[in-house]
């Protein structure tokens, strides 16, 4: 009887040791394969508060009011604005993302999308962290819905170096895209100003929510703009993204007045903003306020970010939207994010011949010479050389 516990102790201790040993052997720790494939790595240290923001006003008690975008955040000392990219430190507002893009790539300009601006060329794209909108289907949420701190990854790239890269890589245009460029206004502005001096084009892709003054100032250095007009319904803007449709519409007019090239993107999300009547109103508004020649892209939603279980927009819906916009008199309406679709290409409104044969982001042929349709001579609005 007395021996049993002792035997048990021994057996169990042995078992435990065996368990420990075997299990620890099996937990595979990786050795050095990664080092075999690596090259340079960007830094992830805190860039710190280096650049004072523009367009803000000091208030009492070390509060500041940012006046860069329609939100006009009142920011307490030590706090960040709604976009997470501007911080008040002792009554001074700083841009947290000046010169520290988290994404730097060379893309085809078609990806922007920009269909009437130097087709088939490349753009040097810059994006940072943060956004002043909250769309739940944002494709670039990793950048736009996070602060730089949360991303913890950036390139140290002052404006001069951006210009240098563009020149070295022979890229004709620089684009501010990926996240909302409003939130890195100072950086964008300085790069744009420098680019203009070097004859490099400046493009940006935005939600058009800046305040008029900074926007007008910026437009002095900008050649082409893509604006997301997410819908034509104030409630939709308000409830889903805490945005403001009227601000967007006013800004579209300002951009049109500036003389820069302008294209408009409408992401059609099934059940959320696919009402044909709204699409009609939007097309009508564009024609009246921006002109019939403004390219309008109906873009297909596909599940992303938080809208993971919503099925993609039926192509039928997009085609109907295109028909509506045609009826309303718009001249250049394309269907985006449906690779292989005919209306990914651009057609001549006069003779219906294909002006630009486009396949997804690839331009296969351009039938425009000196800005005119090669088959009928129609003057195609846009920037062609």
């Amino acid at each position: 009887m007395e021996n049993i516990p002792k035997k048990l102790i021994i057996i169990c201790l042995i078992m435990t040791v065996a368990v420990v040993t075997i299990m620890n052997f099996s937990v595979g720790d990786r050795d050095d394969h990664i080092s075999a494939i690596t090259r340079a790595t960007p830094t992830a240290d805190d860039p710190g508060l280096t650049k004072e923001a523009r367009f803000y006003e000091a208030l009492d008690d070390n509060y500041v009011q940012c006046q860069l975008c329609f939100r006009e955040c009142e920011i307490a000392d030590g706090q960040k604005g709604f976009c997470g990219s501007r911080k008040n430190e002792e009554g001074v507002l700083y841009s947290l993302v000046y010169g520290v893009p988290s994404a730097v790539h060379i893309d085809p300009i078609e990806k922007e999308p920009q269909h009437h601006f130097l087709p088939g060329t490349q753009i040097l794209c810059l994006g940072t962290a943060g956004c002043n909108f909250r769309w739940k289907f944002c494709h670039n949420w990793h950048l736009s819905q996070r602060t730089l701190e949360e991303i913890g990854y950036f390139h140290d790239l002052p404006p001069e170096e951006v210009i240098e890269i563009a020149k070295a890589r022979n890229v004709p245009s620089i684009s501010f895209t990926y996240n909302e460029p409003t939130v890195f206004y100072e950086y964008m502005y300085d790069v744009a100003e420098a680019a203009q001096k070097e004859d490099i084009n400046v493009v940006f892709h935005s939600n058009a929510s800046m305040n008029p003054e900074p926007l007008r100032k910026l437009m002095e250095h900008v050649d082409s703009v893509t604006i997301d007009l997410k819908g034509f319904n104030q409630h939709y803007y308000r409830s889903i993204s805490q945005g403001d449709l009227n601000v967007v519409l006013e800004n579209l007019k300002i951009i049109r007045e500036s003389g820069a090239w302008l294209e408009v993107v409408n992401l059609v999300v099934p059940t959320l903003n696919d009402d044909p009547e709204e699409i009609r109103q939007m097309a009508r508004w564009i024609k009246e306020n921006l002109g019939a020649h403004t390219p309008l892209h109906f873009s297909r939603f596909s599940p992303s970010y938080q809208l993971t279980s919503l099925s993609p927009t039926p192509v039928d819906t997009l085609e109907k939207a295109r028909d509506i916009a045609l009826e309303e008199g718009l001249l250049f309406i394309s269907i985006g994010n449906v690779p292989g679709h005919t209306h990914n290409s651009t057609f001549c409104p006069e003779c219906n011949e294909m002006l630009i044969d486009r396949h997804h982001f690839t331009v296969r042929a351009v039938n425009i010479e000196n800005g005119s349709c090669t088959s009928c001579g129609y003057d195609v609005p846009g920037v062609w050389e």
């Binding site: 048990l8 937990v27 990664i34 690839t362």
Partner: protein, 759 residues
């Protein structure tokens, strides 16, 4: 009335059906939440843990009611009928609770937290009701039968009902597409038995009304079930009625129709739309990988390579391609919704569809291939993670010619990779590299991985000339596009992004790929949850072991010095057994899923057998505990639990390593046996510990409550921690190691306890 005792069969049957109803309800609700959680198996852990806790609370409530309400039969019938009524309601609302409660947009996904809250709310009433049933059943048993151990036999019949439900579910009901039909059929049966049985038991004519109600229900069951099914699906799928909705062995398949378009969903997530799929991704993957291959002749494609994908594949001059799916049922179902032209093209004699799980096929085939690929799947469930592990890559290597090519893709980005995606890509890269000497990646929205035993040349001209020679037509593969995708700076950027990540390889039972993929998913919804997870990851494993060991030793020292309160360690022993109980239940499910991927179907059987095992264990130990000193017996069960941890580990690895030789039938039998044995051990210990506790201590009912509560709390917390953190992050081995450490400590404490007579 009641001169002679009524027959005991009706009451046994009724109690049995209480168990059946409970189990069926649990399985149906579990699968609904599984779909809400888009197939992430960790949801199983959340549901089962919450179920356990609520059921226990219900049981306490039932015990209280039983003591204070004298009309136990009335109470029994009330609970019985209430549960029958509430279950379809709970099922109905489970489909859209998240949409209503969290006001999400149509098609918006959710993280673990809303899922957790939603499970609690939906389970609340049905599980409380079901839990309350048990003590009442025991009283009823006592009242109507002359049995000497009414609690025991109530427990027996309820567990028997549970086991039957598990078997019935797995072999029959699991494939019924309409869960409300399942629910109503069971309800009708239960009502009939209640009516007839109740009449025999109580001789009250009024009981027959339940039988009448059953007949009435039976008359309307089909339209009613259809109505509930459709209405709830419409509420769930923002106003659309699925044209197809079915449960296969592996998961839930749904098709939504919009005009000429069909959207295919798997476990609640869209994965393909025809006739407009993400064709650019398909062209890139198919033509880049095949264009890199000098001469693909014999191919094997596993998983996520549906219609349009396969059509592109067939443009190349194969001798033969074998195509399998993770869920073979998909192949047949999708055919019905493909446009005729696509369907025709897929009837290519070179294409052989194998209606078998791809991994199992690969393990058991003798064929060699010169090209093996995975379609568009990612390791975001345990089911798919099976295709990205070291063990799987090894299988691929064995079946791949020496100069053959293995290819698959992972989610990436043209802009920026968040940390979880860096981890995911780095982990899989490292795992692949461990098996194949040559690994290359074309980064993009989809990162295309190439692996071979020979060097791989990724070159635009090469790809273009191969495609041209083979007369492959693709509007996508244009020189500027090739240049864009193969840009050296993008490649450099990708490697710089994943540098320093992916320290641990992805293995069958250390599913790091799954962990990072679901982490990425999680972070879309809650950056806070992501940060908490990161904190947890930073805790070194040795620190956990150290703290546990240190704490355990302190506790041992503390309890052994308190000689007079020797039972003080019993709540801890019971609590840790509670943890093990929940973990064992889950571990069998997870291991099965990691290996075979169709736990969706098998879960009923595995859970039913486990519960029956627990019952058998308690049956075995109760009489033993009466005889004499039970301490040695308790020690033996504790030791056996410890050994079983090692056994689980070994068995899991044997099954993963010898998949090619172990016949599927044998593996199923083994898993059932494993479930039974683990259940048995858990079940055997509780009565012994309780008995010892009573024997030794001053047993007020309050302290007995403590014992019960520690069992439950252990089970609940253990189940959540196991499924949300330990299994996915630390893997099976380390999790079992932690449990082994905990159980060794409690085991030692038992050894230190003096046997009776020496005190």
């Amino acid at each position: 009335m009641g001169i002679k005792p009524p027959p005991s069969l009706p009451i046994k049957l009724l109690i049995c059906l209480v168990g059946t109803g409970g189990m069926i309800g649990q399985l149906l609700l579990l699968r609904e939440f599984f779909i809400l959680g888009t197939g992430n198996e960790l949801v199983i852990g959340i549901v089962l843990s919450n179920w356990l806790l609520l059921e226990a609370v219900g049981s306490l409530g039932g015990g209280f009611l039983g003591k204070h309400v004298r009309r136990t039969w009335f109470l029994f019938v009330l609970l019985y009928v209430a549960y029958l009524l509430i279950l379809p309601i709970a099922l109905f609302f489970s489909r859209d609770i998240i949409i209503r409660l969290f006001q999400v947009l149509p098609g918006e996904g959710v993280g673990y937290f809303p899922l957790f809250i939603a499970t609690c709310l939906i389970l609340l009433i049905p599980v409380l009701l079901h839990g309350a049933h048990f003590p009442i059943s025991a009283q009823i048993m006592k009242r109507f039968t002359p049995l000497h151990n009414p609690e025991g036999s109530a427990y027996f019949y309820e567990t028997l009902g549970t086991l039957l439900a598990g078997i019935l579910f797995t072999f029959v009901l699991a494939r019924w597409d309409n869960i409300f039909t399942v629910c109503l059929v069971i309800a009708i049966f239960q009502l009939v038995i209640l009516g007839v049985g109740g009449y025999f038991l109580t001789s009250r004519r009024s009981m027959l009304l339940f039988g009448a109600a059953a007949l009435l229900l039976a008359g309307y069951a089909v339209p009613l079930a259809n109505y509930l099914h459709e209405t709830s699906l419409i509420r769930q799928w923002y106003g659309k009625v699925p044209v197809h909705y079915s449960h296969s062995y592996h998961g839930n398949i749904m098709v939504l129709e919009e005009g000429k378009e069909h959207h295919f969903y798997y476990d609640g997530r869209p994965f393909l739309s025809v006739p407009y799929p993400e064709i650019d991704a398909i062209h890139d993957f198919v033509h880049f990988t095949l264009g890199t291959h000098p001469q693909p002749e014999k191919g094997l494609i596993m998983g996520g390579a549906h219609g349009p994908f396969m059509r592109e594949m067939l443009q190349h001059p194969w001798h033969s391609i074998i195509y399998t799916e993770i869920d073979p049922a998909l192949i047949r179902i999708m055919d019905d919704y493909f446009p005729p032209s696509l369907y025709e093209e897929l009837q290519d004699p070179r294409l052989e569809r194998v209606y078998k799980d791809g991994r199992l096929y690969l393990a058991r085939t003798d064929e060699q291939f010169d090209y093996i690929a995975l379609g568009f799947i990612e390791p975001d469930t345990l089911q798919t993670n099976r295709y990205f592990t070291h063990d799987f890559f090894q299988l691929v290597k064995n079946r791949l010619d020496e100069d053959g090519l293995f290819a698959f893709s992972l989610p990436g980005s043209y802009q920026y990779l968040p940390p979880a995606l860096r981890e995911l890509n780095a982990t899989i890269h490292a795992t692949l590299h461990e098996v194949f000497p040559h690994v290359k990646v074309i980064p993009g929205e989809l990162n295309i991985f190439f692996a071979s035993e020979k060097d791989i040349t990724l070159c635009a001209d090469n790809i273009a000339s191969h495609l041209e020679d083979r007369q492959v037509e693709s509007d996508f593969i244009h020189p500027s596009h090739l240049q864009f995708r193969l840009s050296p700076s993008r490649k450099q950027w990708f490697y710089s992004m994943i540098r320093g990540y992916g320290e641990t390889l992805n293995r069958d039972f250390l599913p790091r790929g799954f962990y990072h993929a679901s982490q990425h998913w999680q972070q879309q919804f809650s950056p806070t949850a992501g940060r908490i997870q990161q904190r947890i990851e930073q805790v070194p494993f040795l620190a956990i072991l150290g703290v546990l060991a240190g704490g355990g030793l302190l506790w041992l020292w503390g309890t052994s010095s308190m000689q007079k309160k020797k039972q003080a360690h019993l709540p801890v022993i019971i609590g840790t057994t509670g943890i093990l109980g929940m973990v064992f239940d889950l571990v069998v499910i997870f291991i099965f899923q990691c290996l075979y991927g169709y736990v969706y179907h098998m879960i009923g059987l595995l859970m039913g057998v486990f519960m029956f095992g627990a019952f058998a264990g308690s049956r075995w130990s109760i009489p033993k505990s009466k005889d004499y000193n039970i301490l040695p017996l308790l020690r033996k069960t504790e030791g056996a639990l410890l050994i079983s941890l090692l056994f689980i580990y070994l068995l899991a690895h044997i099954f993963s390593q010898f998949m090619e030789v172990i016949p599927p039938f044998l593996s199923i039998v083994s898993f059932i046996a494993l479930s039974f044995c683990l259940g048995f051990l858990i079940g055997a210990q509780f009565p012994l510990a309780t008995r010892l506790f009573r024997e030794r201590g001053r047993h007020s009912s309050q302290t007995a409550g403590v014992l019960y509560a520690s069992d439950l709390f252990g089970g609940w917390a253990g189940g959540l921690a196991f499924s949300l953190v330990f299994f996915p992050f630390y893997g099976l081995g380390r999790t079992l190691l932690i449990l082994a450490l905990i159980k060794s400590i409690t085991f030692i404490s038992l050894l230190l306890t003096q046997t009776r007579g020496k005190t």
